[in-house]
Symmetry: D2
Subunit: 475 residues, 4 copies
């Protein structure tokens, strides 16, 4: 059962020059599971050829048979976890993509989304290219296969100069691993070291699990090439631009124990809660969170306001797996499957409920009602981010505009719809000042509608649904 | 991956007279998943015959195909979740047990453990009985089949008069559902109502999920018979004794949103934390919990002590599933798979870590080290229960005495082993006074060694290993 | 896809004292696959305990993973192949049955059918026995568990004295293998030797495959006990009666390369064809068979008549597996899935078609039409057995009387129904004289209605359907 | 278990304009199962898009779930059965291949093998093409995608003008089905009609099963285009050459009930047997066949020689499925798994054994020994084809030259190796005169070494192993 909130679409992990490469990649993906639960895969290289195992399902399930690792030999490996709006042909879209071409084999794992995918694909097909998947990532591979220069690095650079959008990429060939982060730096990507091995991961929590040292984040526009001598080369082959990292990674995508864009996520979230208390104070008896992502902000709100924080909603730990909703006549469970209130705690109280966002409003409405049914006298909903009125085209699977409640309703209307007594959203300024970091210009597309990378077509004519079709899938 | 703490062994759920009986039982088991993750099953009755579906695995996986419910027709159903030390023959031990015998069909779901199982089984086999499983529950069925009286209730009562130990039982026949709680009332069992249907569940959180009203707890020694006219009959067929409910249900088995033995679990746990702060105060900068079960006690400790509570250890939500430890060379991950510290928070701090128990000590040692490696200056371990030095024979899967660190080590020795700066256990008196409830004499076997139901052999000659063998399995 | 002919219900195989016991049992079952295609299983003994693997499916599929044999260790093993009218609860009915009881473990494989199963089961259940399966075989186990004598042989003898009907049984305990053939000797059972190991099999073709020497047939009423010293003991514990082996084993159940009841099956079948030519000669151009079971009789008919034998109907070798009939609109394929005529051969010819039996008549009708559509000028159907008008209660799954076309129609009527030009059945006398063997009184129940073992109720009141219910299944 | 004889590599089936297209294709593949048992697949078109289901396994297993057909909607469909020397990456090589390209979707099923695959692939890859499979068939698709002409027919013709070798091809797009047979006509392909629907199949037995009318064979070099108006267009776009159909289709590949190259296979095989009797008569008591493919020739030999034909070797009908050879110590079963002699028949006899070919000689040796061990006084082996000394590059999976016993041994040497008393092979002239058909010049590459389609490299430098590698797989 999924709550209706934006879904992070991918995580990547790679390691170069370690005798347990595929095992450690498995662990790295495990730590990144929150970034994608639909499918996952690992490609390893034994120096002569690439080996793959990838499937629909969670990391622990796809790699539940230890014999799998015997089929993933070698000292380097890349892996991928993926979320996607499931379609009929999802199996073939599981990453990393691996192909044989005239120069040998190459695999790629991609976190992000290309905005000129449709145009490039049409062009490639016109020259006879046949696509195996409906993922924009495959375009990068076809572009690489087309360039005739002998240098792999040059071919990748040439290919990436043609694509626009968001990408953290990991390439693996028989002998090399290359990591690239797009010039805007939409998604996080960090570099670590484990003994003599180099490690690349979407978030630092993956380095922690394998006990690798965090070296630094890979910079926007940077390409890291792992070389046979055990070193790395850092290149900046693209035109430098002002980066625009995604501020929502702080709001709820990243794991609280990760450090991204130079800051710990848990502490950042508490700060959002504190700021929210300053912006929207309320006279109340207890602060509770929508677990688990709302907990740090709720703790910050409680600290700033002096109202005690309590675990008023208990989460069923076994949610997250396949869950079959029961038959029609009783199909009104929704969020109850995931959450249950502690009645003894809420009865007769004035309750502040902290959540990190409102998407369609339906889940918030159920939660407010659940809290009220548990006996709360008042329910004050506080959101630790501004209203999100615009879809994301840089790697997050948001609903289209029509479904985003804040794109067509005022805050008062939303408050009435979710049946809260009061509703407060963190302001754009409050969000940015809480995260801080001086001059960084975060991407604010989803709440401000200003898209830092232009589209082939005017963005205001785009409907999410149509656009997706044009994109032929994305990851 | 399991942390080395006692494992609750079962949960039961039943519903009588509802057109969605098996669907609702599925939801009920889902809410009780924390009481047993090894296997689960449902038996339904359509009035003429019983139908079963049961397997190894989690509820969401075993019932992942909605067609399953078409094979579980009827207006009454019982279900079971189970944990067990897995053996070679676990498949056949999945509950509910269902058999055909001379009087028709009967199914039974059991939470608890019988202490005179071995003697009864030998006696039955001597008369030609053939056992299908190695569960003590099957003994009850054979006893029922042996009695010649026409009344099902009488046959059940006669059978139960012969068994000793802990049991919450749900029986289902073609036309009836019967619930029984043993005279000691070791395990919780509650009664609910959903429209015209009666519901029985191990914990009230299962009633909440299906939106059934909580009526009351079923009393120790009580038998509830659901009758065709829509009513229930309450019987007390056994000799009344002083009940001894299991106090560890409060410490960590039950879900925090459940109300058991008359009290909400979350609030009880916070009180344990407060009492712990009174008994073992310490000068420190931050209080953190071993999530998730330690969180309420940590919040209580923080409130009482005035030291701020923080989420210093982040839990990987996807743990709980099958997890294959990677190859030998890197097999030292253990608790890291489950938990990751927030370094920015712990660095340079004096940290109080709250956990609910120490079993072997190995996990606590890893957690203390993890916190210290994250930069903590001091680590003070506080445990919200007394040292558990004795195995449980009433339905909890504890290690045998030799493996229980507190059975052979002083608190000082344990403190040194887990490498904490200081260690404090909640006192027996503190535990009982925090839980309260006037005259209730909780079972304290696991920390006091006083067993309220005698064994066929003197308890002090028992070794857990041997005893288990004699028991021929338990549930 | 099954042609509508009687289905042999079981085959058994056992080996004692060979280091490759389970592997050889697998091969033995493979050779006996024609006796039952629904399910199969092997139980082995390593001297201390029994090990089982059994499933629905063909031998090659159930044992397709060679790791299976690692779980079947030991120097003795028994196996079973089974056909049955599939019901809802077939999985649990797969043989061999294996149980633990007060004396240890015992497994049994059974070919045959007990006629007093229902009475015995009711009696056992009245004393509290609980049955795991719906197979009459389980009754034997319960009877064995009930007797208190220390000798396993005595307990088996006592149990078998109570049952009536057809049985070839193989028992396996931790240390012993025992074979028993019922006093009537309905089904074949033979003894072989492979080095120091003793082998028992339903048919000699299983001995051939593993290159064991054929020693002799096990006699009606004989019990063979394999002893630890490498020898065997032969016992005749039952009252001697005049045996009545099943003559239909010759007509089509047994494999043509087997020798049963002292005679090679292929040669016997050719003799049936010769006799049929003598009894029902016809002026024709070509003799063809309904493959494969009709081929030897067709060759005999051709030899005796001088009319050339040709392969006029070609069999699809891949039939015998699961076959899904296509959608409604084209669901008239039936026998075409299995057989295709050679048009060039049949066009304009007068054709004699040889089959071994007619059950419902529908298949014969399709075959006659297929031959005529292929251009045959005349179609003369010849059957190498007498009309079967009565159901079998000794281990063959025949339709009930109402469905047997010859129980309610004259030969002329059948001829018209199947649209043949002429129809001839081998006479009862012709059948018996062709098989020969002096004084043996074969069971002729299915065509004469004289049942050699009496039923608990008068046979003429029995309807097959009801009877089956009473029997609670049979194997 | 496979006998060591050449393996036919594929069968194709297609139907256009029938409401049960995929169901009928399933039946057609079922009838063609003998042409390929490794994998199979169906692609259907609903007029707007293509739908596929394909897997490793037999037709009845891959399509065992009737729901599969709901996922294969539409009024046209093509299917494929395949045999291949299994490699690590077989799953992706299952046919029909289906791709999306700039012009829409196209699927192709291929029976044959291209001899210039390696050169074409290198050329395509140099221009950036990325291959999904290792099958030469994919080359055809890439070539089609490369041509810019608007006409699908023209693009196919242009693509096929570049390939050399053997091919019967079925193309399916959203709206069209096109069949092509190579100018040499190596493999059979026939055209049928079922109501308004057109049917194409490798052999006529597939038409028989679905009760389609046999219209005619598709001619060498012919292209059949099914058009929307219900008609077909016949084109001959390639240079006309003298066709060279594969004579071994008669010897053993095709089903005996099929008519190929204008002649019924069963009757042709009998004629081979008659001619063999004329060329290599022998004084003997009985003629037996190696079943099943040797039976017609054995019947012909018997008729011509006057020696009676008997079923001396009985075939286990359940062979053909997965069969796990048992453990090392008893791994000498080989042909015994498949065949068992009828001892009573062979004892003391002079036996003529008819087989259709000898490949490595190991199987023949086992069969001769088996017959002799069954008591035969003399064993005379007669082969109904000439010695095959050269590998096939036109779609048959033969061993390489080193493994073909007749490429390096005289007939006397072979006779001694297989331990026969005498050995006779049908002469090349005898083979051709028996099959007849006036001026047809059959391909005799495998016994004469004269390859009708030249290779990119001189054939005499080719080693089968290397060549296969160059071919990057074949089908």
């Amino acid at each position: 059962m999924k709550l209706s909130r934006p879904q992070e679409e991918c995580g990547v992990f790679g390691i170069y020059n370690h005798s347990e490469a595929s095992n450690l990649t498995y662990l790295g993906l495990y730590a990144l599971q929150h970034r994608g639960q639909e499918s996952c895969g690992i490609v390893s290289s034994d120096g002569n050829s690439l080996h793959a195992h990838k499937r629909m399902g969670l990391v622990a399930d796809v790699f539940s048979n230890p014999d799998v690792f015997k089929k993933l030999p070698g000292k380097s490996a890349i892996g991928h976890v993926r979320y996607s709006t499931a379609g009929a042909s999802v199996e073939k879209n599981v990453q990393p993509i691996m192909v044989d071409y005239s120069r040998g084999s190459i695999a790629v794992a991609h976190n992000g989304n290309l905005v000129n995918a449709q145009l490039l694909k049409a062009e490639l097909e016109a020259y006879g290219s046949i696509f195996q998947t409906t993922m924009d990532t495959e375009i990068i591979i076809h572009l690489i296969a087309t360039y005739k220069t002998n240098s792999l690095v040059d071919r990748i650079v040439e290919a990436l100069k043609r694509v626009q959008g968001a990408y953290c990429l990991l390439f693996l060939t028989e002998t090399r691993m290359i990591a690239v982060r797009d010039p805007n730096g939409f998604r996080p990507l960090c570099l670590g070291k484990l003994g003599d091995a180099w490690v690349v991961a979407s978030e630092s929590c993956a380095l922690d699990l394998i006990e690798a040292d965090f070296i630094r984040e890979i910079e926007p526009g940077e390409m890291i090439v792992c070389t046979k001598d055990g070193g790395i080369k850092s290149l900046f082959p693209f035109k430098k631009i002002d980066p625009t990292p995604c501020i929502f990674e702080f709001v709820y995508f990243a794991r609280p124990d990760s450090t991204i864009f130079g800051r710990n996520v848990y502490l950042a979230r508490k700060e959002l809660g504190r700021q929210l208390a300053r912006e929207y104070p309320v006279d109340a008896d207890v602060v509770i969170a929508v677990p688990d992502s709302g907990v740090p902000a709720a703790m910050g709100y409680a600290e700033e306001s002096g109202i005690p924080f309590e675990l008023g909603l208990i989460r069923n730990h076994y949610v997250g797996r396949t869950f079959i909703e029961p038959a029609q006549s009783i199909r009104h469970f929704g969020v109850k499957i995931k959450l249950n209130p502690v009645r003894e705690l809420l009865k007769g109280k004035r309750v502040v409920v902290i959540d990190d966002s409102i998407v369609r409003g339906t889940t918030s409405r159920k939660i407010v009602k659940m809290v009220r049914n548990a006996g709360a006298k008042e329910v004050h909903l506080r959101i630790s981010s501004p209203p999100t009125s615009y879809p994301c085209y840089y790697g997050i699977d948001t609903p289209n505009r029509k479904e985003l409640i804040s794109s067509s309703h005022t805050i008062d209307e939303i408050c009435r719809y979710v049946t809260a007594d009061t509703l407060g959203y963190l302001s754009e300024e409050g969000l940015i000042s809480s995260i801080g970091h001086g001059n960084t210009h975060y991407c604010k597309a989803c709440f401000a509608g200003t898209y830092p990378v232009a589209f082939p077509k005017p963005a205001d004519t785009l409907q999410k649904g149509l656009f997706e079709e044009e994109m032929n899938g994305h990851e």
